[in-house]
């Protein structure tokens, strides 16, 4: 078993900032800075993907990295997702730490076989002799008015596969820290980036410590007493806005950002729900067989006598992701979460 040493990074860039190492960054730029920090820290870290070199990726998340680290470490690959992940596995077996960018959520499926039958199992298949520290970055989720295959949330498919870790940041700070922790982790990590929040700004401490906490632990975004809103990735913002609306009504909601869908920080969810007695899970992915179902089952088992109402879920429907014209209705909105809260209080 490997334990990861804590480390700190010095601020990148040349601007002689004030004493503070905290900057305001968008979430996308925070991932970029996290990648840069990880690549400076460990020269085995490399990036692979389509259009990630001179273009900097279709979302510019790898902007400037090929210029800094060269074509051997920031690789514009052939247009083949299975090839990207499959060769990343071989690179990892040779001691590298590849970070693969899948251009959009809907294009991860050509690599699904490599991720589930190879990446997830190589460590187990070799009884621990081989580790494959590969990170798969996937911009995911909707709300950007895109065409088919560009707005999906397939995290449950990966969380259902033992051997993978599945995480998603909700804030620039977490994006910065989590990408570094994912890269440092000896396990494969599927790293879902909420593309609808790429432009969300927030403070980022570039010297924040890098360990493994964000890959395993949920985080209370807002403390409250009457209902627990469990979310991750893009839905955390929805949960916070719902909590604001509830506060105006005199109800106190606790917002828990899971960060990780595999593993689920069950202890954190349970601690919150034992306090509030009500639990609503929010995600963009379809509710049917989604992460919310797993959380509801766990909460029911652990908090049965503390629950004032059944655990409710707000998320996507059991339809293909809708056309852009309908996505506002499909995505979990503040209104739909408020409706669920009302139902929970009706019990």
């Amino acid at each position: 078993m490997t334990t990861m040493a804590e480390r700190t990074h010095t601020t990148s860039g040349s601007a002689p900032e004030a004493a503070s190492s905290t900057k305001t960054l968008t979430l996308g730029k925070a991932v970029n800075e996290g990648l840069r920090a990880a690549m400076r820290h460990d020269d085995k870290v490399m990036l692979m993907g389509e259009d990630i070199g001179p273009l900097g990726g279709v979302f510019r998340v790898t902007d400037g990295l090929q210029a800094e680290f060269g074509e051997q470490r920031v690789v514009d690959t052939p247009l083949a997702e299975s090839g990207i992940v499959g060769t990343a596995i071989g690179l990892a077996m040779r001691g590298y730490r590849p970070v693969c960018e899948i251009q959009f959520d809907g294009f991860v499926f050509p690599a699904f076989n490599q991720i589930t039958t190879q990446l997830a199992k190589m460590h187990n298949r070799t009884r621990g002799a081989v580790s494959v520290p590969v990170v798969i970055r996937i911009p995911y989720g909707g709300g950007i008015g895109a065409v088919e295959h560009h707005s999906e949330s397939p995290e449950a498919l990966f969380a259902h596969t033992a051997g993978l870790r599945v995480v998603s940041p909700s804030s620039p700070q977490d994006a910065y820290t989590m990408i570094q922790e994912a890269i440092a982790c000896p396990d494969p990590v599927v790293f879902f980036e909420p593309k609808g929040r790429y432009w969300t700004k927030g403070p980022v401490d570039l010297d924040a410590p890098v360990g493994s906490a964000t890959l395993n632990s949920a985080h209370v975004v807002r403390a409250g007493t009457d209902v627990t809103l469990v979310a991750y990735g893009p839905s955390v913002e929805t949960a916070v806005k719902t909590a604001d609306a509830l506060a105006a009504e005199g109800r106190s909601a606790e917002v828990l950002d899971l960060r990780a869908v595999s593993p689920i920080d069950t202890a954190a969810v349970v601690a919150s729900v034992r306090k509030t007695g009500r639990c609503i899970v929010i995600h963009e992915a379809p509710v049917f067989f989604g992460a919310g179902a797993e959380i509801a089952a766990r909460v029911t088992e652990e908090c049965f006598y503390a629950l004032e109402a059944p655990v409710l879920r707000v998320g996507g429907f059991h339809t293909p992701y809708p056309v852009a014209k309908h996505e506002r209705e499909y995505l979990p909105s503040v209104d739909r979460v408020l409706d669920a809260v009302d139902r929970a209080f009706a019990h």
Partner: protein, 388 residues
């Protein structure tokens, strides 16, 4: 020779020993003949020994399966020259990505025969430490490992290993005729080509993918696939250990010298069933099998060595004794494999603690001890760190 995909001798095929074991002196093969000529009599006897031991391993494994000691076995009978010949061209620092049938390669690589059967016993998903032998474990999802080979070779490039025909590092991927249809195999060649990666794609065209003849996979001779990706590609008589050795050595040296990937089609025949669960009588004729028995790769090398006066009874007896030793080792070693304690299922799922596995393991251990806690799935025994 007439083959199942309708091709014939007109397909250029490197051969250094004809089926009767005579040196073939086809024009334009001097470079390969020189490579084979550099093999000492000890080398040749070593190849012969490893081919015979591979076949012995096959027979022992098949009978262990018949006795119910193995869940399954995939015999390599008929492919000994392709496997042993190519493996003899490897250097210790080279890395092998096998499929599930490369028992001859693993024999040469020094993987313990018992370890090679752990997977087929159902006591292990792998069986050995890849880094100990520079050989990956069996790969069952057809073609998937060829991408790992290319990626590994891209790592070799980035390590800045020397470009040297002996001291450089090459990677070799073994796969079958059926596998050539997989997207992964094609992607592996694309990635290898554009990166100039030091990897050799070693196809054993044994003419069958379970029940499907090669004609179900291709309209063209398969070695042409490699060429289409820009790889130097060669078809060799896969039952001619000298030709296989020479061709593979050339390709590996090219890789070690930084000159990029190559493709070899070793044209051979799967003499046995696909696996112990298969019934070849349903899809192929005994005439075909009979014809290929006449092209047995072991007989061919033996005939050559005898004619050269390099195979005496004393050596044959030594090889036989070594085979008996493998048989005895397998019969006791395999029966002793039990997969370990059931709780070991929870080992090595992740390299670092994962709350779900930790919790399920804790519950299972308590259950086994007769003291299961009320909650099965909920709380992880540990979550590392904390919220910031």
């Amino acid at each position: 020779m007439t083959t199942t995909n309708g091709s014939n001798e007109a397909i250029p095929t490197l051969q250094l020993l004809d089926p009767q074991g005579n040196r073939a002196t086809t024009r334009g093969t001097k470079g390969y003949r020189d490579r084979a000529a550099a093999l000492t009599p000890e080398d040749l006897r070593g190849m012969y020994r490893d081919m015979v031991l591979t076949r012995r391993f096959d027979e022992e494994a098949t009978s262990l399966q018949r006795q119910g000691e193995l869940a399954l076995y995939a015999p390599s009978r008929g492919q000994e020259a392709a496997q042993v010949g190519s493996a003899y061209a490897l250097r210790p620092q080279d890395f092998v990505f096998p499929s599930y049938r490369e028992h001859g390669v693993l024999q040469v690589r020094g993987v313990d025969p018992v370890d090679r059967l752990r997977f087929f016993r159902g006591s292990d998903h792998g069986g050995w430490d890849p880094n100990e032998h520079n050989a990956g474990v069996y790969s069952v999802v057809i073609g998937a490992h060829t991408l790992h080979a290319t990626g590994y070779a891209m790592g070799v490039q980035r390590d800045g290993t020397p470009h040297d025909k002996r001291d450089g590092t090459a990677v070799i991927a073994y796969f079958g005729d059926g596998a050539t249809s997989q997207g992964d195999v094609n992607e592996a060649m694309v990635f290898a080509a554009v990166n100039n990666a030091p990897v050799v794609f070693f196809l054993q065209n044994n003419q069958w993918a379970i029940s499907e003849p090669t004609i179900r996979q291709t309209k063209i001779p398969l070695y042409q696939r490699g060429a289409a990706f820009g790889l130097p590609s060669l078809r060799v008589d896969g039952n001619d250990v000298l030709a296989v050795y020479a061709a593979t050595q050339e390709a590996l040296e090219r890789a070690r010298m930084g000159e990029g990937p190559s493709f070899i089609e070793a044209y051979t025949y799967r003499m046995g069933a696909h696996t112990t669960s298969d019934d070849p009588t349903r899809y192929r004729t005994s005439e075909q099998e009979e014809e290929w028995r006449g092209r047995d790769p072991i007989d061919r090398l033996a005939a050559y060595l005898r004619a050269e006066g390099e195979l005496d009874e004393a050596f044959e007896a030594q090889v036989k004794a070594a085979g008996d030793e493998i048989g005895a080792h397998l019969r006791t070693g395999v029966r002793a494999l039990d997969g370990g304690a059931p709780v070991s299922t929870f080992d090595h799922v992740y390299a670092t603690p994962h709350g779900v596995v930790s919790a399920e393991r804790a519950w299972y251990e308590a259950y086994e001890a007769g003291d299961p806690p009320a909650q099965q799935y909920a709380i992880a025994e540990t979550t590392q760190g904390g919220a910031r």
